[in-house]
């Protein structure tokens, strides 16, 4: 983890960041539980300062507010999500390895590296399920970007792990059939190379889900392909133009089941 990224938690908590810094820090929040907790606590601490500057608004404002809300429709609530059950996740990934093993035989002829990947994939299992909303002042889905809609989907699953000092995660919404890759400080690929995303699809093996944009900074990118059907995902280092199938060992693996 880049300690400099964590250091922005205070400024972010009190809105003392630019819009760009805010977006990049929210990518970090997707993958950093420490900062998620810290932002909540520091927002509460800052809120205490408001006790020292109290000032009743003019009485007319009360009527104005109350007549405005009487004419304003409230947003629909977000569906309740079940907290992640680590026991279920473990059992699920064991089962999926068995299932994937059968498709493995078919795929192995074309993609010899699939088997070791799947054996290791259990390491990064689903850690958290839920919706993170950092900006309650933003409106509903109408204003959300495509990736934000996945990140805030009620059924979003988050699979996270560290990679070369960055925190990376794949957030997947089975209902939307989409997944988003998030990194708070994606390491830059060596010259002439690029990091490529892969989805593990039953019966098809590893299918390219696109390249991760070159970056030394925060990255949020939508994966190509049917994320609902995928049982896992991975990242390899490939030639800059990308490859049809992985040509190197994975640098990260994610199990969705």
């Amino acid at each position: 983890m880049n300690p400099d990224t964590h250091a922005l938690a205070g400024a972010y908590a009190v809105n003392a960041v630019t819009d760009e810094e805010s977006r990049s820090f929210e990518a970090h929040l997707e993958v950093c539980a420490d900062c998620r907790a810290e932002v909540t606590e520091l927002r509460a601490a800052a809120a205490a300062l408001a006790a020292d500057v109290e000032l009743p608004p003019p009485p007319a404002l009360r009527n104005s507010v109350l007549s405005a809300i009487a004419q304003t429709r409230q947003l629909p609530p977000l569906p309740v999500t079940e907290p992640a059950d680590p026991t279920a996740a473990t059992a699920g990934s064991t089962g999926s390895r068995a299932t994937a093993g059968t498709t493995d035989d078919l795929a192995t002829r074309r993609r010899p590296r699939l088997r070791p990947w799947l054996a290791a994939a259990a390491a990064a299992a689903v850690l958290a399920v839920g919706t993170l909303i950092w900006s309650p002042w933003n409106d509903g889905p109408a204003q959300l970007t495509a990736t934000e809609q996945v990140l805030q989907a009620p059924d979003a699953q988050r699979v996270e792990q560290p990679m070369n000092g960055s925190e990376i995660a794949i957030v997947r919404s089975p209902a939307r059939g989409q997944a988003v890759f998030v990194a708070d400080a994606m390491p830059a690929a060596p010259a002439g190379k690029a990091y490529q995303l892969w989805l593990d699809l039953p019966g098809r093996g590893l299918v390219s889900a696109g390249l991760i944009p070159a970056s030394g900074a925060a990255v949020t990118v939508m994966l190509d392909g049917d994320a609902a059907a995928a049982t896992g995902a991975g990242i390899t280092l490939e030639p800059a133009a990308g490859s049809e199938a992985p040509t190197s060992d994975p640098v990260a693996l994610f199990s969705f089941t």
Binding site: D4, A7, L8, A9, G10, A11, A13, V14, N15, A16, V17, T18, A37, T40, E41, L42, R43, A44, A45, A46, A47, A48, L49, A50, A51, D52, V53, E54, L55, P56, P57, P58, L61, R62, S64, V65, L66, A68, I69, A70, T72, R73, Q74, L75, P76, P77, L78, I133, S135, P136, W137, D139
Partner: protein, 200 residues
């Protein structure tokens, strides 16, 4: 009174706060469209939210607009309030603060604000409001907590939160390096949190 919502209940000095309305319940009722509950919520929190907005925005007419916008947002979004992500009051103040900051960062408004920024002293604001509010205990707690900050931390936190400045602007205003302002804001808020024993 309502400060209780953001502070640990174990503290004797704010026991009067326990008599205030239960903001969480009022928010829950508001989320079901209960306008009377929202009116109670407004009465319990308006001075706190408006005071913060005025402190950031300065201009009274604009501040009233911002406070109204904040309450409208709270009304629309209270259906999605998540108690595990902070107290009701902290959540409401976060929304109001963001609205205030958005207002002053629009180029037009910030121009007008530059002129009055240095000439309006914080002390004068305190004097006029203190006579009217019933929350001296809360304020004493906050001031004691602020006193636990180093002078440089306090300056950075106040410029960022009450001044509505970005950490980059705070660095420029204090004549310190960029990374230093960021660190001071965070360290100051952490100290404040620990001194107030704020429960998120």
């Amino acid at each position: 009174m309502v400060f209780m919502a953001a502070v640990g209940p174990e503290d004797e000095s704010s026991s009067t706060a326990a008599m205030g309305p239960d903001l969480g319940r009022l928010l829950t009722r508001s989320a079901r469209g209960d306008e009377a509950a929202f009116a109670e919520l407004y009465d319990a929190t308006a001075a706190r939210l408006h005071g913060l907005v005025v402190r950031v925005v300065r201009d009274r007419a604009q501040s009233e607009e911002v406070t109204q916008e904040a309450y409208l947002d709270i009304w629309r979004h209270c259906t999605r309030f998540d108690p595990s992500r902070g107290s009701p009051l902290a959540w409401m103040l976060t929304i109001a603060h963001r609205k205030a900051v958005d207002r002053v960062r629009s180029a037009e408004a910030s121009k007008a604000r530059e002129v009055t920024y240095e000439s309006t002293t914080i002390e004068r604001e305190h004097d006029t409001t203190l006579e009217k509010v019933e929350t001296r205990l809360d304020q004493q707690r906050v001031r004691r907590a602020l006193d636990s900050l180093t002078e440089t931390q306090r300056g950075a936190v106040e410029l960022a939160y009450l001044g509505g400045h970005t950490h980059t602007e705070v660095a420029a205003l204090l004549g310190i390096p960029l990374g230093t302002a960021k660190t001071r804001i965070r360290d100051g808020l952490i100290r404040l949190r620990d001194t107030l024993e704020v429960t998120a």
